[in-house]
C-alpha cells in the first residue's frame, strides 16, 4: 500500500455520508444540551428567587404577628396594672391611702429626685429588610445583559 492509497482511504473516511450525518447529529445534540443547561440554570435561579421572596413574605407576616402579640400583651399588662385595679388590689391586701402627716422624710446621701421615665434612648434595630442584592431579583438574561454592559463600559 503506497502513500496515495492511504490518502484516498483517509479522504473517503472523511467524506463518508454516515460520518457527516453523525457530525450534524452531534452538533444538534450539543446545542440541545447547551439549551437544557441554560434552561436548568434559569429555572434554578428563578426558583431560588421565588423561594427567597416567599420567605421574606413569611418573615414579614411573622414580624407583624409578633408586633400585634406584643401590643396585645402590653395592653393587657396595662389593664392589669391600671390605677383602679392597683388601688383595689392594695385595699384588698390591707393597705390604706397615706395622709400627708404620716409621711416621714429622710435625707439620703446621693439620692436624686425621680425624673419622668425615659422610655427608650437606644435606637431600635431596623425592622425593614435591607436592600435586596441583584442576585435575588435579576434574571439570567438580566445578568448577561449586565455583564455585557459592564464589559463594554470597561473597554471604553
Amino acid at each position: 500500500m503506497n502513500i496515495q492509497n492511504v490518502t484516498h482511504l483517509v479522504h473517503a473516511y472523511k467524506i463518508a455520508p454516515w460520518r457527516v450525518n453523525r457530525q450534524l447529529v452531534g452538533t444538534a445534540l450539543l446545542a440541545v444540551v447547551a439549551l437544557a443547561m441554560v434552561a436548568t440554570l434559569y429555572l434554578d435561579v428563578t426558583s431560588q428567587a421565588a423561594i427567597a421572596g416567599r420567605e421574606i413574605q413569611d418573615l414579614t407576616a411573622s414580624i407583624t404577628i409578633n408586633q400585634q402579640v406584643s401590643g396585645d400583651l402590653q395592653t393587657q399588662l396595662a389593664t392589669l396594672t391600671s390605677a383602679s385595679v392597683m388601688k383595689q388590689r392594695a385595699l384588698e391586701l390591707g393597705f390604706r391611702p397615706m395622709e400627708s402627716g404620716q409621711a416621714e422624710y429622710l435625707v439620703v446621701a446621693g439620692y436624686s429626685v425621680i425624673e419622668p421615665e425615659i422610655l427608650s434612648s437606644v435606637p431600635l434595630p431596623q425592622l425593614s429588610a435591607l436592600s435586596i442584592p441583584p442576585e435575588y431579583n435579576e434574571s439570567l438574561l438580566d445578568w448577561v445583559d449586565e455583564r455585557i454592559s459592564s464589559s463594554s463600559r470597561g473597554m471604553q
Binding site: T75, A78, P123, Q126
Partner: protein, 582 residues
C-alpha cells in the same frame, strides 16, 4: 426511485415549511393585533398591586411610663360565600359565640348583596372570642368525615388593630379618643393626630411571585409621653367626684399644674367617658365644650380675677400692700353702682384686707384708679381673651371686652376688676396666675412631656409667654394672698405647707339677670409659697349645700393639695427649708 424520493421529500419539506411560516405569521399577527394590545394592557394592570402600608399608631404614656392609650388586635369575622358549606351552622356558631342575631347572620350569608363573594358578619370582635370561634371551627373540621369539609368551612378571620385605653375613663378629657375611621377626637388624640398616626407608605408590588420586592420601611407613629401623673389624676378625679356629691354641684373641674414650667399634672372634669366605649359620646355629652371644660368652657370666674387686678395695681404702682382706703360699701362706675358681695361697708381696709374680704368696691376702685388703658393692658398681657396655646384640642379663648368694642361700657371697667363681665376658662386663669407664682413669668400650659420616635426621646421644653409683672410684684402678691388665707383661717389651708390663693364666687346670669342662688364656686391656689411646685384650680358649678367658693371649692383645694404633696414627694415647709439650709 431515488429522484422520486428526493422530490417527495422536497414537497413535504416545503409543505411543512409553509405550515411553519403560516404559524409564525399567525403568531406575529395575533401578537400585534388590537386584541393583543388590550390583553397586554390588562396584564400590565395586574402586574403590580398598589398596596398601602399603615404604621402602627403611636402610644400615649403618662409621665411615669404608665400606658394610657395603646393598640390591640381585634378580628373581623366574615364568610367566604363560595366555600360556605353550611350557612345555618355558621350562623348558629357565630350567634352563640358572639351573641349576634342568628336570623340576621343567616340572612347576610344567604342573601348577600349582588356581586359579593365575601360578607362580614361581625367586626371589632375581641381576640379571645375570635380565637374561641376559630378553635370551634377547627374541632368541627376534625370531627368531619374523612375527606369532607367541616360545617363551618367558609368562616374567615382577619385581625386588625384597634385603639385600647387600659385606664378606661381616667383622664378621658385629656386623652380624647380614636374613632373607627382612624380619626382622633378631642384632647391629645386630636391635637397630635398626625404625629400619632405616622405616615402611610404606598408601594407598587409585583404580582409575579418570581419578582422579589423590597419591603418598605414604615416607621410607627410617634409615641407620646404626657406630663400627666396618673396617680394624681386618679386622686383628683376621686376628690372631684366626692365633692360633687358632698356639695351637690352640677359639675366640676380640678386642674393641677407645675407653675414653674406649665406641665399639667392632672386635669379632672365631669362627666367623663369610658374611652373604650367612645360611641356613648352622644349619650354623655350635649355639646363639644362639655368634653373638657377646663380648656373649652369659658365662664365668668368671679373673684379669682381679683388677684390679677391686684397684681396690675401693685405692678403699676397704683398701690402698695399697706395702702388703705375707706370702703363705703358702694362705688359709682360708668353710671352704675357697684356693691360688695354682702352689700355692706367694710370701713378702712388695706390691700390685704381687700383680698381677704374679697371686696368688689376695692377692686373697682383700683381699676378706675389705674384707668382703662393700664387695666386692660395688664389683662391683655395676662392673656385674658387669648388662647393659651395649651396642646389639647378644642380650646376656647373666652372673652375680654375692651374699650372700643361695641358692647363695652364704662361700667365694665369696674365689674371686670372683680371678674364679672369677663369670661375665661380655668386654664386661662391658671396661665395668668402662673406669673404670680413664677416670679412674674407666664408659662404656657402643656400636656406633652416628650415624643419618642425611632427609639429616641425628644423632650418638650417649657415655653414662657411674657412677663406681665415684675418678680417683686409677684412675690409681694403671693405673700399678701398667703396672709389673707391665714388671717381668715381659710378651709384651703394645708397643714405643714404655706399656700397662697383666692376664692371666687360668681353668680350665674339667668335670663339676663344674675341669680343669687346659682353660682360658680372657684378657688385658685399654689404652694409652697416660697418655692411654688404646684398650682391648683378648682371649679364647682352650681353647688347647692353652699353657694360660696370659700365653703366648697376651698376645702376641695386643700384635699387635692394634700394628695399632690404626697404624690409629688414635696416635704412640709419646715423639713424642706432644713434640707435647703443643709
Amino acid at each position: 426511485m431515488r429522484q422520486q424520493y428526493a422530490r417527495r421529500t422536497q414537497a413535504l419539506t416545503f409543505a411543512m415549511g409553509l405550515a411553519a411560516l403560516a404559524i409564525i405569521v399567525q403568531m406575529t399577527r395575533i401578537q400585534n393585533s388590537e386584541e393583543a394590545a388590550t390583553f397586554r394592557q390588562q396584564a400590565s394592570n395586574y402586574a403590580y398591586e398598589l398596596r398601602t402600608f399603615y404604621p402602627e399608631r403611636g402610644e400615649i404614656y403618662d409621665r411615669n411610663g404608665h400606658l394610657l392609650a395603646g393598640n390591640k388586635s381585634v378580628f373581623e369575622i366574615g364568610v367566604d360565600l363560595k366555600n360556605a358549606k353550611d350557612p345555618e351552622a355558621i350562623a348558629a356558631a357565630v350567634s352563640v359565640e358572639l351573641g349576634v342575631d342568628y336570623a340576621q347572620v343567616l340572612d347576610v350569608i344567604q342573601n348577600p348583596p349582588e356581586g359579593l363573594s365575601y360578607v362580614v358578619v361581625a367586626d371589632y370582635v375581641e381576640a379571645q372570642k375570635a380565637i374561641h370561634l376559630q378553635e370551634l371551627k377547627k374541632k368541627v373540621q376534625e370531627h368531619a368525615p374523612e375527606g369532607m369539609l367541616g360545617e363551618l368551612t367558609g368562616l374567615e378571620f382577619k385581625s386588625h388593630p384597634q385603639r385600647s385605653y387600659p385606664e378606661n375613663s381616667l383622664a378621658s378629657n385629656i386623652i380624647g379618643f380614636l374613632n373607627r375611621q382612624g380619626l382622633g377626637y378631642f384632647g391629645i388624640e386630636e391635637k397630635y393626630d398626625t404625629l400619632l398616626a405616622g405616615n402611610p407608605v404606598q408601594v407598587l408590588i409585583p404580582t409575579d411571585p418570581n419578582k422579589a420586592f423590597e419591603i418598605p420601611r414604615v416607621p410607627d407613629g410617634t409615641t407620646l409621653v404626657l406630663t400627666i401623673n396618673r396617680d394624681l389624676q386618679a386622686a383628683a378625679e376621686q376628690i372631684l367626684d366626692e365633692a360633687l356629691v358632698t356639695y351637690e354641684a352640677q359639675s366640676g373641674t380640678i386642674v393641677v399644674m407645675d407653675p414653674r414650667n406649665g406641665e399639667l399634672l392632672a386635669m379632672a372634669v365631669t362627666p367623663r367617658m369610658d374611652l373604650n366605649q367612645f360611641w356613648n359620646y352622644d349619650v354623655i355629652y350635649h355639646n363639644a365644650t362639655e368634653y373638657n371644660p377646663a380648656v373649652s368652657m369659658p365662664y365668668e370666674p368671679g373673684s379669682v380675677v381679683k388677684i390679677l387686678t391686684m397684681a396690675a395695681a401693685l405692678d403699676s404702682g397704683a398701690v402698695v400692700p399697706n395702702t388703705t382706703y375707706l370702703d363705703t360699701g358702694s362705688i359709682l362706675v360708668g353710671g352704675a353702682t357697684i356693691q360688695n358681695w354682702n352689700q355692706e361697708p367694710w370701713g378702712v381696709q388695706d390691700m390685704i384686707g381687700c383680698l381677704q374680704h374679697s371686696l368688689n368696691v376695692c377692686m373697682a376702685t383700683l381699676s378706675t384708679q389705674m384707668g382703662a388703658g393700664t387695666f386692660y393692658s395688664y389683662m391683655n398681657n395676662f392673656g385674658l381673651g387669648h388662647l393659651t396655646g395649651v396642646d389639647l384640642a378644642g380650646e376656647s379663648a373666652g372673652r375680654l371686652k375692651i374699650p372700643g368694642d361695641s358692647d363695652w361700657y364704662p361700667v365694665d371697667l369696674g365689674t371686670n376688676a372683680f371678674g364679672q363681665g369677663v369670661s375665661a376658662t380655668p386654664i386661662q386663669i391658671m396661665m395668668a396666675a402662673s406669673s404670680i407664682a413664677n416670679k412674674g413669668r407666664i408659662v404656657t400650659p402643656h400636656a406633652l412631656y416628650a415624643m419618642v420616635r425611632d427609639g429616641r426621646q425628644y423632650d418638650v421644653p417649657a415655653q414662657f409667654a411674657g412677663t406681665p409683672i415684675s418678680e417683686q410684684t409677684a412675690q409681694t402678691l403671693s405673700e399678701m394672698l398667703a396672709i389673707s388665707l391665714e388671717s381668715e383661717g381659710s378651709l384651703a389651708l394645708v397643714p405643714g405647707y404655706r399656700v397662697a390663693g383666692k376664692t371666687g364666687t360668681a353668680q350665674i346670669p339667668v335670663d339676663g339677670f344674675y341669680d343669687n342662688t346659682q353660682t360658680n364656686a372657684s378657688f385658685i391656689g399654689w404652694g409652697p409659697v416660697d418655692a411654688p411646685q404646684f398650682m391648683i384650680y378648682v371649679w364647682l358649678e352650681r353647688p347647692v349645700t353652699s353657694i360660696w367658693g370659700s365653703e366648697t371649692a376651698a376645702p376641695v383645694f386643700a384635699q387635692i393639695a394634700e394628695q399632690t404633696v404626697i404624690l409629688l414627694d414635696i416635704p412640709p415647709d419646715n423639713i424642706r427649708q432644713q434640707l435647703v439650709a443643709k
